[in-house]
């Protein structure tokens, strides 16, 4: 995973534990007709924390963001910011900044006029607003573009203007709705780090909405994985990746080998599972005979030759199969392995290696090994 280095940095980030809760959403429910988009959802965000709402389209993440911003009303539930209830306040009285997916810059105004809009709307005089607009321009390094129409800007510049416009009124909270989706991949990666750094400097509390798990891993202190109007798991990126709470989270964040199987033996917090590729041992509490899914992250798997150097303890699982396909990805190589009845999408096996091993070509036999401790077991859905 390319995101692993930044994860390591993030793990030491001083975010939340001591800070008081800044945003509290409790029991949020929202229906559109017969469809329940938010289902009794609750979440708390600490002051200065960056939280991502991650999920596929239709999971309710944008609806939650719009409810917090005041652009939609909750059917039930409460929203508090800094201890004050805002559930029934209209959007223009909430002082919550929003960066829209398409930026929603005012096309008939210049960059500076866009930045000054909120201040003017709140009754700040032109003279008083000017230095604050200049400050916001400098913050996103757009000073020399102040008098350009916003339609003359590139995508990255438009995004910076949208962020600066939202920050210029000093909101108590910043909501960002897929802020990088309009940028091409290369620029997106640059802007993610740049924006995170900028928001950290400003010290604002921010909530990102995204369907891109990699983006969520990069920008967030904590990630809320959403599913059908509920939060499936709320955790820091390392926990989310290493200890997903469900198959849904496992699938949504990162890749994995996953094999369906039946528990053959269960003792002392360890189960032995019969999978299409052989027996696998893993920590877990399941009744013998229950159907489960065994999962391993691709970088936790090794070729057998490498594993041979490890002590021949009982903690190593070994599976023998054939290589199905090789994906060379530059800094790493993914081997897709044959799994009997892999025609179903349920079973798949992946191993990630730092470099392409000799003789790794489709059809060749291979034995992979992984530690039982790195093996996860979920109840089959």
């Amino acid at each position: 995973m390319t995101t692993m280095p930044s994860l390591a940095v993030e793990a030491t980030a001083p975010a939340r534990t001591s800070a008081p809760e800044h945003l509290v959403v409790s029991g949020a429910t929202k229906r559109f007709g017969a469809v329940t988009v938010l289902d009794d959802l609750s979440i708390s965000v600490a002051k200065g924390e960056f939280v991502s709402l991650l999920g596929p389209s239709g999971c309710g993440k944008t609806t939650l963001l719009r409810c917090v911003a005041g652009l939609l009303r909750l059917d039930r539930g409460r929203i508090l910011v800094a201890g004050a209830e805002i559930t029934r306040l209209p959007a223009h009285k909430r002082n919550i900044g929003v960066v829209f997916q398409n930026y929603a810059l005012f096309p008939h105004l210049t960059v500076a006029e866009n930045l000054g809009f909120g201040l003017r709307a709140q009754g700040v005089s032109r003279a008083e607003a000017a230095p604050r607009v200049a400050e916001a321009l400098a913050l996103v390094r757009m000073t020399e573009h102040a008098d350009k129409p916003v339609t003359a800007l590139s995508g990255g510049q438009q995004q910076r203007v949208a962020v600066a416009r939202a920050l210029a009124v000093r909101p108590s909270l910043l909501l960002l709705d897929e802020p990088f989706s309009a940028l091409d991949r290369k620029l997106r990666e640059v802007m993610q780090v740049e924006l995170k750094h900028l928001l950290r400097e400003v010290g604002i509390t921010a909530i990102f909405v995204t369907h891109d798990q990699e983006e969520a891993l990069v920008v967030s202190d904590r990630i809320a994985v959403m599913n059908a109007g509920r939060i499936e798991q709320l955790a820091d990126p390392a926990t989310l990746y290493g200890r997903p709470a469900s198959l849904y989270v496992l699938d949504f964040v990162g890749q994995s080998t996953r094999l369906t199987g039946q528990v053959m033996e269960s003792a002392e917090g360890e189960v032995t599972v019969d999978t299409p590729l052989g027996r696998v041992r893993a920590p877990g509490l399941f009744l013998s005979g229950s159907q489960v899914v065994v999962a391993v992250r691709p970088e936790a798997m090794m070729l057998d030759g490498v594993a041979a150097g490890m002590p021949p303890s009982a903690g190593i699982n070994r599976l023998t199969t054939r290589i199905r396909e090789v994906s060379f990805l530059g800094s790493r190589t993914l081997l897709h392995l044959e799994v009997p009845d892999s025609g179903t999408t349920v079973n798949r096996a992946l191993i990630e290696l730092p470099r392409l091993p000799e003789g790794a070509s489709p059809g060749n036999p291979v034995t992979v090994a992984f530690r039982a401790a790195d093996t996860m077991v979920f109840p089959a859905s």
């Binding site: 900044g97 008939h108 809009f117 909120g118 709307a121």
Partner: protein, 299 residues
């Protein structure tokens, strides 16, 4: 053709204007597709128009501006021109007042609601003006429905004279031309991103501030288009004023018709037509320039 003289120059002029920057480049073969329409317009519109202009300056034994002196020097005809301009302005701004909110409702509506609103906008166009004025007669006359209603509600003592008043003419004109105001505004408003207003709200802008600073300026191109279309149609109107007011309210088109059909006074009729044409062209070109400015600012 004098009745509708005001409308066509709008399209041909703006077409010529749009074509101008293209000229230095090689002619696009697709431009040839406009040829049939151009030939058609040349025969049915340009030639009669030139003949008309020629008739307005022709005199016994040569060239004369006597027709224009008669039109512009006579307080009666100045009054007629005033009538037409007033009718055009009142109709245009009255239609704007009613049509602007309607265009928003139309743009925001979805599904059946939108289909019904569209029908309401277009239905008046499908009913002949003759039928409509007959209907207005039933509603507005001394023993008509509206007077009956007002008396029975105790709002008035005795019936009001509503038919053949200037107000009833304005109401009739706005009824006829409202669709031409709603449609251009609708087409602009429909393209407005609702997130712009939402973004303004999250920045602390009240609904009124949002309307004045975001929605209104961005919808102005549609407003300008609607005003210029309705004004140029209304200023040249003949049928509706004739049916609703007759000789009590003479408009330029009515004077023209009288001059051509009753008096056989070609000089008067064609000079009046040329003045009307000049007024309409000035408004349409002015509106076009204003619209381009607004559009450029909006980009």
């Amino acid at each position: 053709m004098s009745v509708s003289a005001a409308a066509p120059p709008a399209s041909s002029l703006s077409a010529a204007r749009a074509a101008l920057p293209q000229l230095p480049r090689r002619l696009d073969p697709l431009a040839l597709l406009a040829l049939p329409a151009l030939l058609f317009m040349a025969v049915v519109f340009l030639m009669p128009l030139l003949l008309l202009l020629w008739a307005s300056v022709r005199a016994e034994g040569g060239f004369s501006l006597a027709g224009y002196v008669r039109v512009l020097g006579d307080s009666y005809y100045i009054g007629v021109i005033g009538n037409s301009l007033r009718l055009g302005l009142v109709t245009a701004f009255g239609a704007l007042l009613l049509g602007y909110p309607a265009a928003f409702a139309l743009a925001r509506a979805r599904g059946y609601a939108q289909a019904i609103l569209f029908a309401l906008v277009f239905l008046p166009l499908t009913v002949s003006i003759i039928v409509k004025s007959f209907g207005w007669g039933i509603v507005l006359r001394r023993d008509g429905i509206l007077n009956w209603l007002l008396i029975n509600l105790g709002l008035i003592e005795r019936p009001l004279r509503m038919l053949f008043t200037e107000e009833s003419l304005y109401a009739g004109m706005i009824n006829v031309f409202l669709p031409f105001m709603v449609l251009p505004i609708y087409s602009v408003v429909r393209m407005l991103d609702p997130r712009l207003s939402e973004a303004a709200a999250t920045l602390g802008a009240s609904p009124l501030f949002r309307f004045l600073r975001i929605t209104l300026p961005l919808s102005l191109p549609g407003v300008v288009a609607g005003l210029s279309i309705v004004f140029s149609l209304a200023v040249a109107a003949y049928v509706t004023p004739s049916l609703l007011m007759g000789d009590r309210y003479m408009t330029m088109s009515m004077v023209m018709a009288k001059a051509f059909l009753n008096l056989r006074d070609w000089q008067l009729g064609s000079a009046m037509a040329a003045v009307l044409l000049a007024l309409a062209v000035a408004v349409v070109v002015g509106a076009g320039l204003l619209q381009r400015r607004l559009a450029r600012h909006g980009q």
